[in-house]
C-alpha cells in the first residue's frame, strides 16, 4: 500500500520522476527501469495516454487497423492485432473501461515494423483504442469489444 501512495503522490511531479522513483524502489530490475509506471497506474484513459505521449490529442486515422473479435466470451483472453502503415514509434493498446486502461505499449523506435499483437484482459464491454505515435504525432483507432464474462478479478 505504501507503494500505491508513493505512485499517486508522484504523478503530479511528472512521469519521468515516477519512472526514476520506481527504479530506485526496485534496484534489482535493471531492464524494467524505464517501465512507464505512471501510465500503467493511471485509472483513467486520458491520464494514461497523457502520461505516455505527453498529450491527449490524437487524430483518428484510417491507417491504423485493429483486428479483434466483436464479441469476446472470455474477458481474460481477448486477442488483438494492431497494424499500421504509419511510421510507428509506439503502439499502445488501451481498454477504456479497465481499472487500469493502458494494457500494453510497445516502443518500436528501434526499427520494428508497425505491427503489434497481444492478448489482453477486459473487465467489461468497452471500446478498445489503439494509439500510434508516428512523426511526433499521436493517432488512434478504436473498436468496441463486447465481453460476456469479465477477466479482471477472480
Amino acid at each position: 500500500m505504501k507503494r500505491r501512495t508513493f505512485i499517486k503522490g508522484s504523478i503530479a511531479s511528472g512521469a519521468l520522476v515516477v519512472a526514476a522513483g520506481a527504479g530506485l524502489l526496485k534496484p534489482g530490475q535493471v531492464l524494467a527501469g524505464d517501465w512507464p509506471n505512471a501510465a500503467f497506474s493511471a485509472t483513467g484513459m486520458d491520464e494514461a495516454v497523457k502520461s505516455l505521449f505527453g498529450s491527449t490529442d490524437a487524430a483518428e486515422s484510417a491507417d491504423i487497423k485493429i483486428k479483434a473479435p466483436l464479441q469476446a466470451e472470455n474477458g481474460a483472453v481477448v486477442p488483438l492485432k494492431v497494424e499500421t502503415s504509419l511510421p510507428a514509434e509506439w503502439i499502445a493498446i488501451v481498454a477504456e473501461k479497465n481499472p487500469s486502461p493502458l494494457t500494453t505499449a510497445v516502443d518500436l523506435s528501434g526499427g520494428a515494423a508497425g505491427y503489434y499483437s497481444a492478448r489482453i484482459k477486459m473487465g467489461q464491454t468497452s471500446d478498445v483504442y489503439a494509439y500510434v505515435k508516428a512523426d511526433g504525432k499521436v493517432y488512434m483507432a478504436k473498436q468496441q469489444i463486447k465481453v460476456t464474462v469479465g477477466g479482471c478479478g477472480g
Binding site: K26, G28, Q29, L31, A32, W35, P36, F40, A76, V77, V78, P79, K81, A95, N98, P99, S100, L102, T103, T104, A105, V106, D107, L108, G110, G111, A112, A113, G114, Y115, Y116, S117, A118, R119, I120, K121, G151, C152, G153, G154
Partner: protein
C-alpha cells in the same frame, strides 16, 4: 523461482517476418483473492519484453496486469534475411526473467 518456459516462433521470410513469443507466466493482477485464505494474491506480471534482431534492439514491449496469463506477444521485423538471429528477453516485477532465441528461416 519457478522455471518459466519461453517459446518463440518466426513466421514468414524476406521483407517482413512475424515474431511470436509465448511466455509461461501467471500475470497476476494483484486484485485477485486466494480462495482458501481470502488474502490478495500479490501482483506478478511481466513488465518488459525486449526484442533483438542480430543483436540490435528493434522493439521494447511494456506489459502490465492487463495482459492475459501466458502472454502471446507479436511484432514484425522488416528487412530480415535468412539466418538472422532474433532474441527476446523479458523481466517481471519480481525480478524474474526469461527469454528465447531463434533464427529466421
Amino acid at each position: 523461482m519457478a522455471k518459466r518456459l519461453t517459446k518463440m516462433k518466426i513466421k514468414g521470410a524476406g521483407d517482413r517476418v512475424q515474431v511470436l513469443v509465448l511466455a509461461n507466466h501467471p500475470m497476476e493482477t494483484g486484485t485477485r483473492k486466494d480462495k482458501k485464505t481470502g488474502e490478495l494474491i500479490p501482483a506478478h506480471f511481466i513488465q518488459k519484453m525486449i526484442f533483438e534482431h542480430n543483436g540490435k534492439v528493434v522493439a521494447e514491449a511494456n506489459l502490465s496486469q492487463g495482459v492475459s496469463k501466458n502472454p502471446l506477444i507479436g511484432i514484425e521485423i522488416a528487412g530480415a534475411k535468412s539466418g538472422d538471429t532474433v532474441k527476446v528477453s523479458w523481466s517481471d516485477n519480481k525480478g524474474e526473467s526469461g527469454g528465447a532465441e531463434s533464427t529466421v528461416k
